[in-house]
């Protein structure tokens, strides 16, 4: 299996939010995360972005109630 660079990992981490990754891509990501803290951090941060924007979307809801 091809080892991913951090640059490639960041692209997959983003695409994971938008499409179902192939099994090979998922395994490659997991292997990479096991040895790379920087990419683990970015992965958590990209996940967080989704929650953060959702929070911002919902906020108008509360202000107006």
């Amino acid at each position: 299996m091809k080892l991913l660079s951090c640059k490639e990992v960041t692209r997959l981490v983003s695409q994971r939010q938008d499409r179902a990754l192939a099994i090979g891509e998922r395994v490659a990501l997991r292997l990479h995360f096991a040895i790379c803290e920087g990419c683990r951090n970015v992965n958590a941060q990209i996940d967080f972005l989704r929650r953060a924007v959702r929070r911002l979307s919902e906020r108008g809801d509360e202000e107006n109630r």
Binding site: S5, C6, D18, N41, V42, A52, R55, L56, G60, N64
Partner: protein, 191 residues
Amino acid sequence: MAADFRSQIENQRAYLLRYASMQLRNPDAAEDVVQETLLAALAGEAGFAGRSNLRTWLTGILKHKIVDAIRRASREHAVEAGDPDADAGEFDPLFDERGHWREAPDAWESPDRALEQTQFLAALQKCLEGLPARTAEAFMMREHLGLETGEICKELGVTSTHCWVLLYRARMALRQCLEASWFGASRAKRT
């Protein structure tokens, strides 16, 4: 009854305008889609009968109107659709020639606690406003309107690969912006 429905709908205007403004940067365009939504809602009162939540129903109509507006706008810009920077090369400097981090990103301290802070949400809003127009448009269609990538590509008239690049660019730029304006700053304060 009709007058009552009209005033109930009118009460939602401010909310709808905020919702639309998160997606459409042009205030006039946001006003327009809200106006269209209110008119469509009045004309379609029967469609609401029996539904529990007026706001949810209105937001559903508004989403369609927003997507229509984006579609119209991207038709007008169709000529310039061939983006020269479709590969998000602006993030290359973060990596060395082998594609490894030059400087590995640090973790963010209790990010979910930040979600409860008004100042953090303001910082996020500011970061969103700093994104290039088309990048922001694709990202907010995905995360704010909750559209699937296929639909976003179709409305913007770009390939799915280009769509992923736009979304990648948005996320990487927001990550950097929040690191600089929020999480990096609180880390520096602690140490």
